[in-house]
Assembly symmetry: C2
Homo-oligomer: 558 residues x 2
């Protein structure tokens, strides 16, 4: 039997009108702002009216370090949402929006896979409801206002060499990484070197995802540092009076988007900050709204648990007051084998020893999640080639850690394939076992926060940094930013800064090469390795084969 592709399955979805999906959560039709018949934004007045309601239970789906074998974190998030609905619970999922640019590089996109997907998949991978375009516009308005301020006399005394605010586009365009602007003479301004990042790397994106409401959004936008004077005094977005207009541009984008799973269950898809130089979680406003409307909310965080779950806990939850009631850690037998040293070509053969060796990675993540005081359960995302003995090996390893592993077959069977896990998650979340705590207190010095994450989560022996980096952190503490959490920017493939070191290495050194202050988003980024904020296109971009087929359907995008 030939398997259907994700897009074939998505196109066969029997979507319900989005008003029917909203009704499942008690959202009246009037509170939904439709974008087509299968997408809607949830109105801000309605959201404000929910404030006094109790919250449902929050479940975080995270994963082992990603390998080329694939782990299926989003797929499991979607499947678990369907599974919870299937066992009679009022449940919703919260995931991130997709960036447009990368779709034209590699075939990709997709929100979930197999029979655990969110639809309309094509719209979600193209313009969707325009949120990212609004972020691009707001970001670039500020950029234009900075250069315009300098052009008209520079009353604020901006040092043109110290403008840190760049421009953004939602496009993979390496030619824009490093540019000189304002050439061409007097009427075009003062030439200076700058560049473009991809929109998801914008601090505006991080802010949209952390802001409680429009007031908080504007305050945070105003707080962003965009440049320095010659005397190194920071120039804030607010000094340029750009925060109000930016908020106007983001007014609609701040409202969470509602779509549906293949099984017609509600899915909030909102925001999509980079998981390296930002925190990589969907928006706080979407998660909060979902918690007011559903009894169980399943969400996820970017990359593996060492980066994604850590930032979810230490940044998103700390800053918003959210607290997870349970964590599902996704693993696959195949990924365990790769962590155990097997190459992708050899994944087809049963290899118990490799599975056992690779489980050290899984075990480390289990141990890490427990540090946050939240109960964890492992979901084995089932692949057709997994053998009983391999699955048993994973289960045994997890059991030895005092946790449980459940095989999940949502990819092949939808919600019906993940009922056992859904029931376990309900039990775990309802047990009241969670005693959420962040990993470090606000008042810990910034460098010590970095060390705490590196030693507790990565099992590193030390953190190294130049005096310049340490001085910068000290200067920010002096300026009142010492209580911010740290946002680690590190490879997602390893607990170390070397992407090839799988398993559960320890005793390594974590070099902090650079630190950046996101004063509006509210974190200090610690860059441990190369961070690419504007991707390029491959030799043969997917765009070359993307087009409309004879029936007007999109071809080549997935």
């Amino acid at each position: 039997m030939a398997f259907k592709t994700d897009i074939e399955i998505a196109r066969e979805a029997r979507k319900k009108p989005i008003q029917d999906i909203g009704a499942k959560l008690g959202i009246l039709s009037d509170a939904l702002i439709p974008y087509g018949h299968d997408k809607a934004k949830v109105g801000q007045d309605f959201i404000a009216s929910l404030a006094d309601r109790p919250d449902g239970k929050l479940i975080l789906v995270t994963a082992i370090n990603p390998t080329p074998a694939g782990e299926g974190k989003t797929t499991t998030t979607v499947g678990l949402g369907d599974g919870l609905n299937r066992i009679g619970k009022r449940a919703a999922i919260c995931i991130r929006e997709a960036s447009l640019g990368p779709n034209f590089g590699m075939k990709g996109g997709a929100a979930g896979g197999g029979f655990a997907q969110v639809v309309p998949m094509e719209d979600m991978n193209l313009h969707f409801t325009g949120d990212f375009h609004a972020i691009t516009a707001a970001h670039n308005l500020l950029s234009a206002m900075i250069d315009n301020h300098i052009y008209w006399g520079n009353d604020l005394g901006i040092d043109e060499r110290r403008v840190t605010w760049r421009r953004v586009l939602d496009m993979n365009d390496r030619a824009l990484r490093d540019v000189v602007t304002s050439l061409g003479g007097v009427s075009n301004g003062f030439p200076r070197q700058t560049g473009f990042d991809i929109t998801v790397a914008s601090e505006v994106m991080a802010i949209l995802c952390l802001a409680a409401d429009l007031d908080d959004l504007q305050r945070r936008l105003g707080d962003m540092i965009v440049a320095y004077t010659r005397a190194r005094t920071p120039i804030y977005c607010r000094d340029l009076k750009a925060d109000g207009a930016m908020t106007v541009l983001l007014k609609d984008a701040m409202q969470p988007n509602l779509v549906q799973t293949l099984e017609n269950n509600p899915a909030f898809v909102h925001g999509g900050p980079f998981a390296n130089i930002a925190h990589g979680c969907n928006s706080v406003i979407a998660t909060r709204t979902a918690l007011k409307l559903a009894d169980y909310v399943v969400t996820e965080a970017g990359f593996g648990a060492d980066l994604g779950a850590e930032k979810f806990m230490n940044i998103k939850c700390r800053k918003s007051g959210l607290a997870p009631d349970a964590v599902v850690l996704v693993a696959t037998v195949r990924a365990m084998k790769m962590n155990g040293g097997v190459t992708k070509a050899d994944l087809g053969a049963e290899n118990i020893a490799a599975v056992e060796a690779g489980c050290t990675n899984l075990g480390r993540h289990i141990e890490n999640i427990k540090r946050f005081g939240v109960p964890v359960i492992v979901g084995i995302n089932h692949f057709a080639g997994d053998t009983e003995a391999e699955i048993a090996a994973v289960k045994a390893h997890v059991a030895a850690q005092g946790a449980e592993a459940i095989v999940c077959r949502h990819w092949a069977d939808g919600g019906a394939g993940i009922e056992e896990m859904a029931q376990k998650v309900v039990d775990l979340a309802d047990s009241g076992a969670a005693e959420f705590t962040t990993l470090y207190p606000d008042e810990m010095p910034l460098f010590a926060k970095i060390e705490t994450v590196a030693k507790s989560i990565y099992h590193a022996a030390e953190v190294t940094a130049d005096q310049k980096v340490r001085d910068q952190l000290a200067a920010w503490e002096e300026a009142g930013y010492g209580d911010l959490p740290v946002c680690m920017a590190k490879t997602q493939y390893s607990f170390t800064t070397d992407p090839t070191r799988r398993g559960a290495p320890e005793g390594h050194s974590v070099p902090v090469r650079e630190v950046r202050l996101s004063a509006g988003a509210g974190f200090v980024v610690a860059i441990c390795g190369e961070i690419m904020t504007m991707p390029g296109l491959p030799r043969v971009p997917a765009a070359e084969t993307i087009g409309l087929d004879l029936d007007g359907a999109i071809d080549g995008l997935f």
Copy 2:
């Protein structure tokens, strides 16, 4: 009594659900793709189903050369649509979408004014339904693919010095007019000098507005010339294989947007190409759709009749097969006075002599429109300070030209203030008097086409151009582009290329400084003077005072 501002009037509008507006034209709810409750796109399948229906009558609203006194072309277009509905006709209007960027420079926006407006005004001046964002994305995808092609080996042999395709943003950002990209070393590509235009200046915008359907859109996108080889062989968008992916990005944007007037009559708002380096009319697909659904369709073209109406006739109508049944030429007493030499400060005083002197400008436009074989009627957009004697002077001048002038009070009174004009327009359009003809045949040489427009419409004595310009035109004729119409890029303030020369000058010289080929849109641009394709922000941008007020309403945008 204090007058209400446009935005106050717009906010008090009693909008009907967009489905009710569609129903007035027989559009079923299923054929409308809602964007909120007051905006929708008309589905392409529905549009395709209309092909065999007869067309309604097409009325073009154009104007005298604009003066700082204001003439009210869009206001009259909207008012006339309401007036036609008021006298019992099934009528719709077709206007252009607003560009986002300029709103952050000067207070502005607004679609119409007074009691002749289209709503929702705020959305229309912000992201609306995302069409311009889609154009930005499609344009910049092609830009990225060009540099990416060069980066990976440049199989097409693109001469990096001869890349004509730039990038776009919907933002007033002078710093981006002239930039060097791909700095920073090997991984960022080959440095070259290029720049950004504002999105409305993109050839993609012109194409979206001229394409008959998605197939035609893709064909035209493929036809765009983006660069040349060292041997000056053109490189087409199609050579980069970008046309398919661009079409996918523009798929939704190609569907016309439906909104409503203050009086709940249907308004199609779609596309907005620059009126200088492009043709400045709303989309062909919107106009065609409206003609299939309404008995009378009122549309407008950019700038005064010498530029706007000329391009509407010679480009939009020629290429689409559309033909206007009547033209309404908008004038104001105040603008006649300014054309007659009065300064803005002195507009308050009655000045019959100045009105009479200024009517030469109006008279020239009447004469010009008759050259296209279409009957014309003058609409005097009434201002409170106009005196009876001044109005009588305009009417007498127009009558002497064999036409009629009607006072229109739609600004103050909505559709009720323009009923007389509405009835006259119906009579004129139904009379069958129109025998539309373009000004020149396709087969006329390109330079002769420029001369024809300059001499017939501008009453110039000659067109001057360097040999280089003439050679370029000859080369394009050789390459098969000789049958294209010309798109004149000239100041809108005068029949000459000097913006200060009002009235009806003649015998002047029109210098063609540069010519550009828009091979996909299908015209040759003749640039007669300075053309700004990326505006800047003023010393105190409107953005500084734009924000949300305490009630969450947008403040400072209008």
